[in-house]
């Protein structure tokens, strides 16, 4: 497959601060590529350079064989963007929103009507076509944002945290739409702070931290970085976390880390069978255990291993339902 986006030695400096430092990536035509990293890692700066909103300090970006710097008008025609705050024009109706962007993308007049109709049908917003989008719910606005990003039928769709702030139902719908668009041949570049989202959707993932690519591969390749064992996770009450950490160290020789109420430890291969022993030992110590479980490494675990911090630390947002292990 061809590389539809080719980023070579991309650097962006803001004064003394290096936001992106020597990033090289190739995104193949037709794949869903995930760009992961904590806030301030350089994801958005990279996306903004792809969109020509920022001029790189050095390096080269090639879009479908075209040098972005030289033929940016043509390259822009090939890219659609939806961001987490994808701003629909609140004072305009859904139809007027689409009309505006159809005109800004220089879509031939005779085709505009057809495209708008298709977009309204796809986003299931036909009934609200002439309502002001300011009155729309978050999910409706996001759906409109997605079809608006696709109005010029781009080859590449950039999704900057497309599901942040959406409820579970809307998020699943969005995932389905993204998969459908990809099936129709659209290459998708996605940034997200939901690792589960990257895991479900992406063919390949790059993890960025401090402006550098620190891991690149398929989700299963990436997850192997966290080790071949399993992850032990204990949630305790009564500030007993330190107690569990010392217990694990003294009795099992396992180095665990405590963060608030949660204790996590990697159970290396061979020590997986000790899970029952560990939980029995913890029970005996009269620790106030809220939950205890083990699971296969998730991207979260990789993330913590690689960057030393969880994604949530930066986003300040708790999200549940990620732990794939057995709950007792």
């Amino acid at each position: 497959m061809n590389d539809i986006i080719k980023i070579e030695h991309l650097v962006k400096k803001f004064g003394d601060l290096t936001a992106v430092s020597d990033v090289s990536l190739s995104i193949k035509e037709g794949e869903i590529f995930g760009l992961l990293g904590p806030n301030g890692a350089g994801k958005t700066t990279t996306i903004n350079m792809l969109l020509t909103l920022l001029i790189p300090t050095s390096g080269k970006i090639t879009i479908a064989g075209m040098d972005l710097q030289k033929s940016h008008a043509k390259a822009k025609q090939l890219m659609g963007l939806m961001t987490q705050e994808t701003v629909v024009e609140a004072d305009l109706t859904a139809r007027q929103n689409l009309q505006l962007f159809a005109e800004l993308y220089h879509i031939p007049k005779q085709e505009v009507g057809k495209r708008i109709k298709e977009a309204l049908e796809e986003s299931d917003l036909m009934a609200f076509a002439d309502k002001k989008t300011g009155t729309f719910s978050g999910g409706m606005q996001r759906r409109l944002g997605l079809v608006r990003a696709m109005i010029q039928e781009p080859k590449i769709l950039l999704l900057d945290e497309p599901t942040t702030g959406l409820d579970v139902q809307n998020r699943t719908t969005m995932w389905d739409r993204i998969k459908e668009l990809n099936k129709d041949g659209t290459t998708i570049l996605l940034t997200t702070q939901y690792l589960e989202e990257a895991d479900t959707l992406c063919d390949r993932i790059a993890i960025i931290d401090h402006g550098k690519v620190i891991a690149l591969g398929t989700p299963s390749e990436i997850k192997r970085i966290a080790g071949s064992g399993k992850i032990l996770e204990v949630v305790v009450g009564n500030n007993d976390a330190q107690k569990v950490v010392s217990l694990l160290k003294s009795k099992f020789g396992i180095i665990a880390t405590a963060k608030g109420e949660k204790v996590t430890a990697i159970l290396e291969k061979g020590k997986e069978s000790e899970f029952t022993k560990i939980s029995a030992a913890i029970d005996r110590e009269k620790v106030d255990v809220l939950s205890i479980g083990e699971h296969l490494p998730t991207l979260d675990d990789v993330f913590i291993k690689l960057t030393g911090k969880g994604m949530r630390d930066e986003s300040g947002e708790m999200k549940g339902g990620r732990m794939g292990g057995r709950w007792r």
């Binding site: 969109l51 909103l53 043509k74 025609q77 963007l81 994808t86 701003v87 024009e89 505006l100 800004l104």
Partner: protein, 373 residues
């Protein structure tokens, strides 16, 4: 070609937003004229102790009686001089506002001109108050037709009389304010509407979503400027309705409206660009609101919006010359108060305003583009 179609697409967007918020826009542009015309228009509009030079060529008992009658009610302070040249010197140097020449045939009973009144174009407020008084006092002694007033333009050493009769002019302070408020509403609508929406669009990400489309970046500013031009007509209409309902008149009549709308549209372009220039450097709406007022209010004051420029100290008079608003207000005044808009003044007013509009728009586009990266 694409610049034009991109600008029109964004112009349509601005107009849709404008229409969606039409009530707010009408209220905002109606509040200023309502307050200022209705409140200040009736405050202290009385005129007193206006200095007038009188040249008495008739020098007969009736003319002396006429001069004495002028000084009744403290409205006029008479300074008698011996020659017309001396009187014009006083007028040129601003020591008197009117020159009354009593011709030798006073009091005339045949309807021939017996009294000439000359005045400058700067004291609009007094003109309307003083002229009828002079006429009335003269009429007590002779037939009213023999009174003639002329509009006098001080042009340095040239003491020639510009023969512009101002009989149609209405010059009450109310009307004076009315013409100034048209300018004010346009400038403030441009500064508040345009600049704040540019900041909210940038903070909200709307500008970003335009920038990733293959449009010409200048279209983002040009679309705004175009919509400002069109919106200015609504603002002018609102002020006209309030002003005329309040009893102000437009001396030039309906044709004058064409000039008012044209001047208003160009003034709007100037200040939409000013708002974009300020907004391109600001991220905080409150800071913008304060800063734009700090720009708008002095400019309005310096354009002679509330007080005639001629009453300013010389330094401020000099500053008012470089204020584009002064030229728009000059046009409004000539149309509304004097009823005549000579071609020379049209050339100056429109020349200055159009040039300013072009320079400011170019500057705002340049600054806007430079803030993108």
């Amino acid at each position: 070609m694409s610049l034009l179609s991109d600008s029109i697409a964004l112009y349509k967007r601005e107009m849709l937003i404008f229409r969606a918020n039409i009530r707010t826009n009408i209220i905002r542009s109606a509040i200023f004229p309502l307050f200022i015309i209705l409140l200040f228009g009736y405050l202290g509009s009385g005129v007193s102790n206006v200095p007038v030079a009188v040249v008495n060529y008739a020098n007969n008992p009736q003319s002396i009686q006429f001069i004495n009658s002028l000084e009744l009610q403290n409205l006029i302070v008479v300074q008698t001089v011996i020659s017309q040249d001396q009187a014009f010197d006083l007028l040129n140097s601003g020591q008197v506002n009117f020159v009354i020449v009593i011709l030798p045939n006073f009091p005339s009973s045949t309807g021939q001109t017996a009294i000439d009144v000359y005045y400058t174009n700067v004291q609009y407020t007094e003109t309307s108050e003083i002229l009828p008084v002079i006429q009335q006092r003269a009429a007590q002694l002779e037939s009213p037709q023999s009174f003639q007033s002329e509009f006098y333009e001080p042009t340095g050493s040239d003491a020639g009389v510009v023969s512009t009769p101002v009989n149609g002019a209405s010059g009450s302070y109310k009307t004076f304010l009315f013409s100034g408020v048209i300018g004010m509403v346009i400038v403030f609508s441009a500064l508040f509407g345009g600049g704040i929406s540019l900041i909210t669009d940038r903070l909200g990400g709307n500008i970003k979503s335009f920038l990733i489309t293959p449009i010409n970046k200048s279209a983002i500013i040009l679309g705004r400027v175009l919509s400002g031009m069109v919106q200015s007509t609504l603002f002018v209409v609102i002020v006209l309705i309030i002003g005329i309902a309040d009893g102000s008149t437009i001396a030039m009549g309906l044709i004058g409206l064409v000039w008012i709308f044209l001047l208003g549209a160009i003034l709007m372009v100037c200040f939409t660009s000013v708002s974009a220039i300020i907004a391109s450097r600001m991220k905080n709406i409150n800071a913008y609101a304060i800063f734009s007022q700090a720009v708008g209010l002095p400019l309005w004051f310096l354009s002679g919006g509330i007080i005639p420029v001629s009453s300013f100290p010389p330094v401020l008079q000099a500053i008012s010359v470089v204020n584009p608003m002064t030229y728009a207000l000059d046009g409004f005044r000539r149309v509304i108060l004097l009823g005549s808009y000579p071609i020379a003044n049209i050339a100056v007013d429109f020349g200055v305003l159009i040039a300013t509009a072009i320079v400011l728009t170019a500057l705002s586009i340049f600054l806007f583009k430079s803030t993108i990266d």
